[in-house]
Amino acid sequence: MDDVLKPAYNWFKKKGWKPFPFQEEAWNAYLNGKSGLLNAPTGSGKTYALWIPTILEFLRDHQPEEITPEVRVLWVTPLRALAKDIQRAMQEVCDDLDLRWEVGLRTGDTTTSQRQSQKKKAPQALVITPESIHVLLSQSDYPNFFKNLRAIIVDEWHEILGTKRGVATELAISRLKALNGSQLKIWGISATIGNLPQAKRVLLGEDYHKESVTVRADIDKEVLIESVLPDEVEKFPWTGHLGTKLLPKIIPIVNRSRTTLLFTNTRSQTELWYQAILKFAPELSGVIAMHHGSMDNDIRGWVEDALHAEKLKLVVCTSSLDLGVDFRPVDTVIQVGGPKGISRFFQRAGRSGHQPGAVSKIYFVPTHSLELVEGAALRESIQEKQFESRKPLEKSLDVLIQYLVTLAVSGGFKPLQILEELQTTYSYRRLTAQEWQWCLEFITTGGKTLGQYDEFAKVYNDDGIYKIINKKAATKHKLSIGTIVGDPALKVRFMTGGYVGTIEESFISRLNPGDTFWFAGKNLEFVRIKDLTVLVKKSSKKSGLTPQWMGGRLPLSSMLADKIREKFEQAVEGNYADIEMHTIKPILDLQAKWSDIPSRKNLLIEKTKTRFGYHIFIYPFEGMFVHEVLGGVVALRISRIQPITFSISMNDYGFELLSDQEIPIEEALESDLFNEENLFQDIQESINMTEMAQRKFRDVATIAGLIFQGYPGKGIRAKHLQASSGILFKVFEEYDKENLLIRQSMEEVLTLQVEHSRLLEAMRRINDQKIVLKETIKPTPFAFPILVDMFRRQNLTSEQLSDRIAKMQMQLERAANKQS
């Protein structure tokens, strides 16, 4: 064995390094033919732990010059932005060892000519995204291309697990396993999460995980959390308002540090903070940059390079810099706004202080005073080493349908064979015969309601082999593999040429030509939309709108939520030992005076009236997603008492019901508003009555290929095929009740968004609590953020539409832009 490892030791020696025990452990496990999971944080040398043994394996089994054009290693990375850095590092090892391996790149950015040359002469290793594996699976020669794989290594698995990309990864692995047999090893690399054994099982599959190993880096790092405290707390915390006010305290931190990463929770916040910092500290111009997922790749690449080269003092970023290679110069991390989860916060903290034994320090900047409680809760959770789990998805039929069509494009598949492979995946291990049959029917005949119409031409059953003959359908499918789900994104380009990034259609549709908006730190004037591209020019105006990108806002994890309730409990008991809790004492005092402080023992309900209408605020502290569903159920149950219409808003701490008439909350409480009986029927019903399922269906329909986002650059031609997911949803609901994609949307609300168990737990907890109903003269400090934030809203009604409309008004065209 030692002989086999020798090249690795020599290489480390030449670099002046010494391998960590976990690296040696991973080398040996891999060379013994094991699959497994490596638990190691970014910047720990995890790449070498798994890249090196794939080389050693080759050197053990072959003469170094015996190189054939075949892909031996797939290195899967979640972000294409990361791929380049990893490829560079991997290629360097080969070059140093005089091994003539080529490490190729295969992502959405790979050019056609590069793809062609990879096809002609396959590189020995490919750094690839999950989507790009599926693109390769849609090519007819894929079985040949992949027949000599020795390893699939999935980097940052904790980021992919629990998403549909994770499911797509499982599916690709199941196919590649079948092509390669026992010579193939599967490895995942994951940061610390609460369910590492499950993470391993999901990635490796029902067959491979049984004989597998787990290697832990055990690099214990000390993390220090310091909250940036306001001198004076606002008693009515306006969301997002406080943060930039703390700049006088933040800039000195930046000045003291070599390089600082300032993380915000959304891309919009990143734009806002970048502007605010430049305004407050103009001397930073030139050494400050921003980085988020909608920006052009080249600009992002430039920022990353500048970070490496220590040319930047401060980078304002989103989770786009959460992953990937280590930026050594970074010694300080600032988190703006609650990170909503312990694991994420811990990983971000880890972006600083990489010298052995160094302490990772992270500053927490609240965006409203009340959020300071999260600082206290995070610190304690990290001390107690609590980490959230990433729950894997199960039975996502939309992903399965996309995969089956992919296989139909590349020469076809035999159902029984694929079913057998599916049964080795975690996600589809419990797929029923009916569900499988439905999927096959759906892609061939279009499902039961379509029945015998032969016009529906997608996949043909050609004597037991399911394939696509229609070239157009095949092309259309290939274009939609790995479509990014969400609001259609438009490219933003200067009139004079030059790509800026992408922006969501829903934002642009609200702009008129001449309006200005901030993007990638520039103020841009909207000129017009042409061929799905937003044309802009630079503006010298000082004001502008900030785009809202959808998504990106994560709900509070249940673990952190629990900690927050504990912190309030301590406050009720008079324990203000945490500096954060001490700071917000004035808010809590006012809250207690006007109403009450929600704690573990009490469920607080507030009732008040404003010019907007009648409000009920309920504070379960269970996170936004749980509140969304719970709010629906509570609204539904009240709406059975009398015809009434609600608008429901929520944040991580609680939810609000707003109505134009007085809400009979007392009566509802008497009839046991939080009863666990019929809870799931009521959830289903409220999901139907609100638009929750419909919103999920948008993603499901896009992935399953029902919504076609158009041919690149040929937006117009797809126009006859445009139908909003809303219309599709209604059509299926009315004419195709058995449609499993509708059911999946419903289930995703329940499973993806709120685990059944978590909702039931929340209900049980509430039932153990004493309900405290307070009527307040106006919204309390706790109610205020929900009232002004209105992040997510939905409606639920038991009134006749015509009765509701009788109380409404039409919005008239403003005189200013009268139509001709």
Binding site: F442, G446, G447, T449, L450, Y453, E455, F456, A457, K458, K472, A473, K476, H477, F612, G613, Y614, T645, S647, L658, S659, D660, G705, L706, F708, H720, L721, A723, S724, I727, L728, V731, Y735, D736, M790, R793, N795, Q800, L801, S802, R804, I805, A806, K807, M808, Q809, M810, Q811, L812, E813, K818, Q819
Partner: protein
Amino acid sequence: MKGSPELLGANYKFQFLDQEFVLDADRAIYWQEDKSLIVADLHLGKAGHFRKHGVPIPRQVHITDLQKMNSLINRYQPEKILFLGDLFHSDNNEEWMDFIEWSNHHSGIQQLLIEGNHDILDEGSYLQTRMKVVDEYQNGPFLLTHEEVKTDLYNISGHVHPCVRLHGIARQGARLPCFQFGKQKGLIPAFGEFTGSHPIRPLKTDRIFAIAEGQLIGLVG
């Protein structure tokens, strides 16, 4: 007072420019003087077009549309039907056969298609039906077209699939398909079940009739 809604029932007699319209909540107008039924934007065949491209929309969608047409015919016994364009969504597919059958079944009624941008079928296809294709239709004060045109007459068109947005207190709102009658022009809602809608921006002087739960709702600017 502005824009307060008035519930008008499933159909409503609307005297307009000395003519009598019956607005129907099934998204149609019966024009008394002309003895005609006016409908716009059926987009038949859209489901078939989607199926052809691998999106399984059931055929029943358009059957419902034709059944709705039948009940309108029973209700008003029109002498002619004016289709304000976008009758058929795309090139020929099997749903055209359904329409041929429907059209011939109603051979006693004159059928006029005012051609719209979606109507790309060839002449032969129309010859199998009772449909006569025209560019526009004029009678009395009205000029009927698919898309809005500049004219001295009062122009009634379809094409935009109009809907109106309503707002109430407590963040309530609704978006409803509607008829719009302005000073020189009017819009009628899309008839087809499998179509979207586009919010209009009503002027103070417009008369708007929105449709909700089978009821017409009068809105004044």
